[in-house]
Amino acid sequence: MSGRGEAAGGHPGPSGPDPLAAVEELLQALERGEADPAGLALAELTAEGLARLRSAEELDLEEATSFLMQAAKLLDAKARALLPPEPQAPFKELDDPADDGDAAALVDRLLAYRGFKEAAAVLRRFEEAQWQRFPRGGIVEPAPAGLPGLEGLQLDDLLTAFQRIWEQASEAEPPREIPREEITVAARVRAILRTLREAPAGEVTFTSLFRGQATRREVIVTFLAILELVRLGRLAVRQEVSFGEILIRECAPARQPWAEGGAS
């Protein structure tokens, strides 16, 4: 699919150096009716956009997924516009809107999606404004159904993530001259809570809680500590995308059997 030498009436291609913003420009042109899906110049745009995402020091997931989704839809719209139309079904009405073909419907969906993204941004502003207000007793968020503390993932997802960590942990105990300190679940629970309280925004990744642990024993004890905290409702665990990083934060305590100096 070439981005040059397009059919007459095709959009000349986006201006400006930023391919991510260029996608927005194309969408606006489609909305104004100034662009024909068949004439979209997409090859160079998508290549530049992907190159930019790859070269970025830190991948902005939201920006990347937004670009990929919109670019994919533009490509789909162009492909459908270039393909010959399907033969008309018998007795189809002459002014049936579907006569415009799937391309028009796809463009409509694309533009509708853009509108909903803006609506989501408005909801975000309402959310942030309302978070500055507190009713008596503070905010009590509804407890999630199912296993308390898990948001956007199941227990199986947690086990899968643990399995990845387990496979990396060493089977052999490292040689030591100093007697090894026993690691208890209680001690790990206290350490995890300390880590969460010191973390920026009070949230850490699941993987980071296992950082620096060389042996399988340490990995097991840490995982047991996490499960115990989830069971007690002390942790909220969430995963925003499938197979994505699991994020952990502390919840308001229901009871505190793991207080410093408490029984293990």
């Binding site: 969906r109 694309l110 999606y113 609506a119 959310e127 309302q130 507190f134 503070g138 502390e250």
Partner: protein, 184 residues
């Protein structure tokens, strides 16, 4: 403007009704409708509305730490936004913003309700299982019957909790769809 010691509608003095309403709103754990306040206070709804206006005036004039807010079809007392940092220092709330994917899903439901999962996914172009599950768990949306279509898919709508969460009086407080760039 009605003087506080004058009689409100149906006989209850404003300067007696206003503190009653303040006490009721302080005790309530959720927004309270004027009808419910009237029932509890033994006054008419019209008097309650007058009393609420007076309570709001008093709270605003003296710049008290709390304000009266109309939300989710009722009224509730909240701390003022300008004192949020102090309240946060005390409560240290642990809250998670809704993710972008969840917000987009919620925006589709808010503007297109009642709407099925397939309709949401057709607009967003991706699956929305996790986002929908998250919204159901947080009680920001609920199931509202099934669509009369093949497969009888479940319909989703927003809830009262949705209005409270975003500080809206009703769905009419949402910006009109035509104010957004895309086609809704």
């Amino acid at each position: 403007m009605t003087s506080p010691d004058q009689l409100a509608l149906h006989g209850l003095p404003l300067n007696r009704l206003v503190p009653i309403l303040e006490a009721l709103l302080f005790a309530a754990q959720e927004p309270v409708t004027p009808a419910r306040l009237a029932e509890a206070a033994g006054a008419s709804e019209a008097a309650v509305l007058e009393g609420l206006a007076e309570l709001r005036r008093q709270l605003n004039e003296s710049r008290r730490g709390i304000e009266l807010v109309e939300v989710a079809g009722g009224y509730r007392l909240f701390t003022r936004p300008e004192y949020a940092e102090y309240v946060q220092a005390l409560l240290q709330p642990v809250r998670a913003y809704l993710s972008p994917a969840t917000l987009e899903t919620l925006a589709v439901i808010a503007y297109r309700q009642p709407v099925t999962r397939a309709e949401i996914e057709a607009i967003r172009g991706v699956q929305c299982d996790r986002a929908l599950k998250n919204l159901l768990e947080r009680e920001l949306v609920r199931e509202a019957g099934r669509k009369d279509a093949p497969g009888r898919p479940i319909l989703y709508v927003t809830t009262q909790a949705f209005l409270e969460y975003f500080g809206l009086r009703s769905l009419a407080d949402l910006p009109p769809p035509e104010s957004f760039g895309g086609r809704q």
